[in-house]
């Protein structure tokens, strides 16, 4: 029952992400646009490029969707509304989201096309940049909560949200989450103007619909993870918990989608350089600071 409800909310959330994305792009709020787009994609032909790696080509969109759905299963929307409150929840999110890389590499290698291939390998470079910046802030969050249970992580923020307790960690996690979801300015694998769609370019029709659905689910999952780890989850005055969850998740989604419009795409060399030379020391500093704070203020 909870499972079905959460899945429904996930689909609704993905739908709203699409609406927000089209609003960010065109300034108009069109509630029916994603539904029409989905039905239209079902009605179009879906072709497999010539001489592909068939397994990789077919598995990639499905794997992207599965990885986003699995990561969403450990996100609590209210204290009871969680599909699987795994004891290793925070770690499991990371484990599930790694398959995004596998999916995009498959989507890059499979079609046997130049643009997709370059897009796939560029995403691997991006992963090497952002991966540590996802994992280290999660560790610092777990230090405060003394547990990897996502519900416990939210409860541990009842005094002060983590965004104020560990602001460095929040900034690093937010940026790394945008890079994981390959949102602009980190849209190296599916750059519209450098790679004519990159990993997405060879998908058409229903396969493209699944790919896009996976991407939307990924964005909403990452926004939910940010809210759970740093913004106090369901906590807040007056409104019921689910309302707070919804408001916070949508706010984070809108921020992620809007931020990229006002910046050019980042260069991969710069992304790697800044993440490793600036980001990792900051993440280590964050862990150290949280370690000291946790001991000093029990």
């Amino acid at each position: 029952m909870t499972t079905a409800l959460i899945l429904l909310l996930l689909v609704l959330g993905a739908y709203l992400v699409a609406v927000i994305e089209s609003w960010a792009h065109s300034g108009r709020f069109q509630l029916s646009a994603p539904l029409l787009a989905g039905i239209a994609l079902l009605g179009r032909e879906s072709i497999v490029p010539r001489k592909p790696d068939r397994i990789f080509y077919e598995v990639a969109p499905v794997l992207l969707l599965i990885s986003a759905v699995l990561a969403a299963t450990v996100i609590p929307l209210t204290p009871e509304l969680i599909i699987a409150d795994l004891a290793t929840g925070a770690l499991f999110i990371n484990a599930a989201l790694v398959y995004v890389l596998v999916a995009l590499l498959m989507a890059g290698w499979g079609p046997n096309g130049a643009y997709a291939m370059i897009g796939g390998w560029r995403f691997l470079g991006q992963l090497i940049a952002y991966a540590m910046l996802i994992v280290m802030p999660i560790t610092a969050v777990a230090m405060r909560a003394e547990s990897l249970l996502t519900t416990q992580i939210v409860i541990s923020q009842s005094g002060l949200w983590n965004i104020l307790y560990q602001p460095i960690g929040f900034i690093l996690f937010f940026v790394a989450a945008m890079a994981l979801a390959f949102l602009p300015p980190f849209d190296l694998p599916n750059a519209k103007s450098e790679l004519a769609g990159g990993v997405e370019a060879e998908y058409s029709g229903v396969r493209l619909a699944v790919f896009r659905l996976g991407r939307l689910a990924l964005i909403i999952t990452l926004a939910s993870a940010t809210v759970v780890f740093y913004l106090g989850g369901w906590q807040g005055p007056w409104l019921p918990p689910w309302a707070w969850s919804a408001i916070k998740i949508l706010a984070v989604t809108a921020t992620m989608l809007l931020a990229g419009r006002y910046m050019p795409r980042i260069r991969e060399d710069n992304l790697l350089g800044w993440c490793w030379i600036l980001g990792i020391p900051l993440a280590l500093l964050n862990i150290f600071l949280v370690g000291v704070l946790v001991l000093v203020f029990p």
Partner: protein
């Protein structure tokens, strides 16, 4: 009935789907968004959503007249679009080899909006049709060529024997460019090919063979004609070698794929799994083949070079160092394989019509070549032409800067005919020229924003460009604060500097024009030599860095300078047509177009233009591309090309 309908009857679920498709048309713009902006079209307002890949598009939007080479590329795009697909042509006359346009309209925003309205109805009704036929065009056909493995310069269209050595020609699928081989090695230039001595001498026992292509055997050392590697000496009897390479040797010769050794065929061709040419496999290797463990072969762990071991006949074990020792080395010393990919003519972010072919080493550009597909061979023919049509032709040649070329034609004609222009109309002409400079730079900014993924810039610059295109004097002054705030906001954007500084650096010793030159510190501006500009208070912009950021700054500065020039000139009107009567003479004129200095020399005979000589800045700039892109990352390379602000339409062959 649209030509790109899907097969089937329109009923039930299909009707719902068709009406959804009508409301969500992804559009692929040919020849490019820059042309759409130059014509003042607002695609989003008309309801068309631009997509990057033809597979995501249902509408092919063709704007203006398209030259034949570009039409073939458009046919390729159309063939790669998924059905149902529909063609909306604005102001195009002939679209072959594309099918005839389903919706035709003129080039204006209102007509575009009407066209989109009709298009929606057509898609909803015609998305499915019981009777459809394939779209075919000559450019889509796989060209099977027949070539000799020892003499790759022999290419025939039918099977036969090589005229040089008598071997049967083997089949080969024609690749993207002519005479294009298995591309994981640097291609040899044609003169190297020709200079090689392929003739067989049967007396000497020491032969040289290629480790990757054992059928290639020569008597002197050299490079393998197929892949460029140095040939290794091999001690074999002359007869055995003969047996090995004669292709009509009975039955024992099989063909296999270097990447998929389990694919074995009796005749040459291409591998059904990956498309590479099949290499001959010597007979006695078959046992080795059968003994090889194929079960754990999967694509992700495939190592290309090590697969070649299975094909080598009579060779001792070759380590990776030996196998790769003649491969090209990248900058860090690693031998890797290169791929060649076209980036154009319809890549969003690059000017439409520019075919950029990059040889990529990973995501670094190892070699680049650019050419324009918009060659209009019928320009200024048949000579002589009368001055009116000459002006129109020159103005239509470049839709991205029509007023500048019109002015160039008029000035050259006036110079030839000895006509003087009063100061007032000269000022009005300057107003028009400068307004076009603003429009062109804004269009470039929108294209630059598209190339760098900077959506806000693209939208803002496109809006301002639409407003400036036909703006009068008062409106331009009214737009000044909006332009200033856009420039200020742009320069404060995060990541912009890191994205553009140091990229695409040009040195002042190359032949440069226009803003590209001024960004390098070269004071190359045709306006600085004209008195009329100095009286209006003209000062050329100048930066020294010579990179993309400097060019961006120069163009932004020029936008503001042009506004002050327009305000000083006090009037805007394009040049009036020039009547040359029956005069004769020679004339020349030089105009600072938004992209650089353009020069025109012509001779008049009895009022008709007999000979012309046109020089445009893009023609010189396109030659800069190869050295500019060496060893650049792909994103940086494309940004550098975009920053040159080429107009493929004005590139002269």
């Amino acid at each position: 009935m649209i030509s790109g309908a899907r097969q089937g009857k329109l009923s039930g679920l299909r009707q719902l789907v068709a009406s959804a498709m009508a409301r969500d048309p992804g559009t692929f713009v040919v020849p490019g968004h820059d042309i759409a902006w130059a014509h003042g079209l607002d695609l989003e307002a008309a309801g068309l959503q631009q997509v990057a890949s033809p597979r995501h598009a249902s509408v092919l939007l063709v704007i203006g007249d398209i030259p034949p080479a570009l039409r073939e590329a458009a046919a390729v795009i159309y063939a790669q679009m998924m059905r149902p697909r529909i063609i909306l042509a604005l102001g195009s006359t002939d679209l072959s080899p594309l099918p005839a346009a389903d919706i035709v309209a003129g080039i204006s925003q209102q007509e575009l909006a009407n066209g989109v309205h009709t298009l929606r109805a057509a898609l909803a009704k015609g998305a499915f049709h019981p009777d459809v036929s394939d779209f075919d065009a000559p450019v889509l056909q796989i060209r099977i060529e027949y070539t000799c493995s020892m003499h790759p310069e022999i290419i025939r269209d039918e099977p036969g024997s090589c005229p040089k050595c008598g071997m049967t020609l083997i089949q080969r699928e024609a690749q993207a460019t002519a005479a294009h081989e298995h591309t994981d090695h640097p291609k040899m230039k044609d003169d190297e090919h020709a200079g090689m001595d392929h003739s067989m001498q049967h007396e000497t026992p020491v032969e040289y063979t290629c480790p990757m292509h054992p059928e290639v055997v020569q008597n002197e050392p050299g490079s393998c004609p197929k892949c460029g590697m140095d040939l290794e000496p091999r001690e074999e009897q002359a007869d055995a070698m003969h047996d090995h390479q004669h292709m009509d040797h009975d039955a024992a010769i099989e063909y296999t794929c270097p990447m998929h050794p389990e694919v074995v065929q009796n005749e040459p061709g291409s591998c059904p799994k990956c498309g590479m040419n099949l290499e001959p496999l010597a007979a006695h290797d078959k046992q080795d083949h059968a003994g090889m463990d194929h079960s754990n072969m999967d694509h992700s762990s495939m190592d290309h070079s090590s697969m070649d071991h299975s094909n080598m006949e009579g060779m001792a074990f070759m380590s990776m160092i030996d196998v790769t020792k003649d491969l090209p080395r990248s900058g860090d010393g690693l031998p890797m394989e290169w791929i060649e990919a076209p980036f154009g003519p319809f890549l969003p972010g690059l000017p439409g019509g520019l075919l950029l072919t990059l040889t990529l080493d990973g995501d670094t550009v190892a070699a680049a070549s650019a050419r324009s597909l918009t060659e209009n061979t019928g320009l200024f023919k048949p000579a002589p032409i009368d001055s009116q049509s000459f002006i129109e032709q020159l103005s239509d040649m470049n839709p991205l800067a029509p007023v500048s070329y019109r002015l160039l034609a008029c000035r050259a004609l006036e110079d030839a005919a000895g006509i003087d222009v009063p100061i007032i109309s000269a000022h009005a002409r300057i107003g028009a020229l400068e307004r076009e400079r603003i429009t062109s730079h804004l269009g470039w900014l929108a294209l630059f924003g598209q190339q760098t993924g900077f959506d806000w810039l693209t939208q803002r610059a496109a809006v301002l460009q639409r407003k400036t295109r036909h703006a009068g004097l008062k409106q331009i002054s009214a737009l000044k604060p909006a332009l200033q705030s856009m420039i200020k906001r742009l320069l404060k954007a995060p990541l912009l500097k890191s994205r553009t500084v140091g990229i695409g650096k040009l040195t002042p010793d190359t032949v440069l024009y226009g803003p590209v030159a001024r960004a390098c510190g070269i004071n190359n501006d045709a306006r600085s030599t004209e008195k009329i500009f100095t009286t209006l208070g003209f000062k050329p912009a100048r930066r020294d860095a010579g990179d993309v950021l400097a060019r961006l700054h120069i163009r932004l500065d020029e936008i503001m300078h042009s506004i002050s020039l327009i305000e000083a000139a006090g009037a805007i009107s394009p040049p009036a047509p020039v009547t040359t009567g029956t005069l004769s003479g020679t004339g020349k004129a030089v105009i600072e177009t938004p992209r650089g200095m353009a020069g025109l020399q012509l001779t008049l005979q009895d009022g008709q233009v007999a000979t012309t000589q046109l020089h445009t800045p893009s023609t010189s700039h396109v030659a800069l591309i190869n050295p500019l892109l060496e060893q650049q990352a792909l994103g940086d390379a494309l940004t550098a090309v975009c920053s040159l602000d080429l107009s493929p339409w004005e590139i002269q062959p």
